[in-house]
């Protein structure tokens, strides 16, 4: 933020909107309306206020030094720029977001690797017509019969048949 006339970055709202997940759409809309309202307000105000016609006033106002005094004080006046208190917070938020994003991306990649592994296993399975029950238990461990817990056929509680 270098000074008052920092150029406003052009935001591609369309691309932004694409990336918003559906459950955060309301927040996005609120942000957009706020942004639009602010930019409308800003556009409504002129960048520089109109200049005061000192010559005219000097000619018309009867009181002697008043116009001169006003003029002097007016040109000497410096309007203070408003202080920026929130940018630091935004930057901090950005850092945090970057960190949590990195974490999420990592977790996501781990999940993708898991899925890929499973997919690989499923794709390279032998066709069911050539499987024995042992092969099935190998491919899908949840169908494996527990011969220790239920030593007698059918190796699973009767209710599960």
């Amino acid at each position: 933020m270098a000074g008052r006339k920092a150029a406003l970055k052009a935001i591609d709202w369309a691309a932004f909107a694409e990336r918003v997940p559906p459950n955060q759409r309301a927040m996005f809309n609120a942000l957009k309306t706020r942004s639009d309202a602010l930019s409308a307000r800003m556009a409504a105000l002129p960048e520089k206020p109109p200049t005061i016609d000192w010559a005219h006033y000097k000619a018309t106002v009867a009181k002697a030094g008043m116009v001169d005094e006003f003029q002097k004080k007016f040109s000497a006046l410096k309007v203070p720029e408003p202080v920026d208190t929130q940018s630091a917070k935004i930057d901090a938020q950005e850092q945090e977001a970057a960190k949590s994003t990195a974490e999420y991306v990592q977790a996501s990649k781990a999940r993708i690797a898991q899925y890929e592994q499973q997919l690989q296993k499923l794709r390279s399975m032998i066709p069911f017509e050539q499987m024995t029950y042992e092969d099935l238990a190998e491919a899908f461990p949840e169908t494996k019969l527990d011969k220790e817990k239920y030593p007698f056929w059918p190796h699973k509680p009767i209710a599960d048949l």
């Binding site: 933020m1 008052r4 406003l8 970055k9 935001i11 591609d12 691309a15 932004f16 990336r19 918003v20 997940p21 942000l31 706020r34 942004s35 602010l38 930019s39 307000r41 800003m42 105000l45 520089k48 206020p49 109109p50 005061i52 006033y57 106002v61 009867a62 008043m66 116009v67 006003f70 007016f74 006046l77 309007v79 203070p80 720029e81 408003p82 920026d84 929130q86 940018s87 935004i90 938020q93 977001a97 994003t101 999420y104 991306v105 996501s108 999940r111 993708i112 899925y115 890929e116 499973q118 997919l119 499923l122 794709r123 032998i126 069911f128 017509e129 050539q130 499987m131 024995t132 092969d135």
Partner: protein
């Protein structure tokens, strides 16, 4: 006789996947005699060889009474003919039915597997999409910073405008005050002059001015009539 000390399929090293069982069993003629027997005898005795052998053996057993014909023979003939008739007529249908049952089981399993594959693929797609979404977080922060910049800018401009307006108001007030004072003075003076003039018109002057007005009017009316 299986060797008990040579267990099969206990180590992981085995032919996997198990080679599939053959679709059909070995060829047989007349449901009993394997085709290999006929092929075996073909070079020496040709096509009719095994049949001759069979007929000869049968006649030998019958004539020498190695096989004795008694009541059980008749029973065997009846039972076997019924069985053969039943199998020939209904065999295919029963086989198809059994195959259908098996087919259903297998297709269920295959459907489950396909569904699982599809689910995994969509899950991977979703994850990738979420990652792509995350890349757009810079937009959010840019928007926020923009908002802040706009707010500050707006505030500054408002301040400038306030200053300008205030100064202008004061100067305009002075000008307006002057104008008003002048106006009031003018009005007052006019009024005072009028009042004094009216006061100074004595009754004598009033009569004279009224007579003159009547004379003027008469002259005007005469000239107006002439015009009409």
């Amino acid at each position: 006789v299986l060797h008990a000390t040579r267990p099969l399929h206990t180590s992981q090293q085995r032919l996997a996947p198990l080679p599939p069982l053959p679709e059909k069993g070995g060829e047989v003629r007349h449901g009993l005699i394997p085709e290999e027997f006929f092929q075996f005898l073909y070079p020496k005795t040709g096509v009719t060889g095994p049949y001759m052998l069979g007929t000869g053996l049968l006649l030998y057993f019958l004539s020498k009474e190695i096989y004795v014909v008694n009541h059980e023979t008749v029973a065997a003939i009846c039972i076997l003919s019924v069985i053969i008739y039943g199998v020939k007529k209904f065999g295919a249908d029963v086989a198809a039915f059994a195959d259908k049952l098996n087919e259903e089981k297998v297709s269920n399993a295959v459907a489950v597997k396909n569904a699982a594959i599809k689910d995994l693929e969509t899950a991977i797609e979703e994850e990738k999409k979420e990652q792509w979404r995350l890349e757009g977080r810079t937009y959010l922060f840019d928007a926020k910073r923009n908002n802040i910049a706009m707010l500050l800018e707006t505030n500054y401009r408002e301040r400038l405008m306030t200053v300008y307006n205030e100064v202008k108001k004061r100067l305009d007030y002075q000008v307006a005050m002057q104008n008003l004072k002048r106006q009031k003075e003018q009005d007052h003076m006019i009024q005072w002059v009028e009042k004094s003039v009216v006061q100074s018109i004595t009754p004598q002057q009033q009569k004279e001015s009224i007579a003159k007005c009547i004379l003027d009017l008469k002259a005007l009316s005469r000239s107006a009539q002439a015009a009409v």
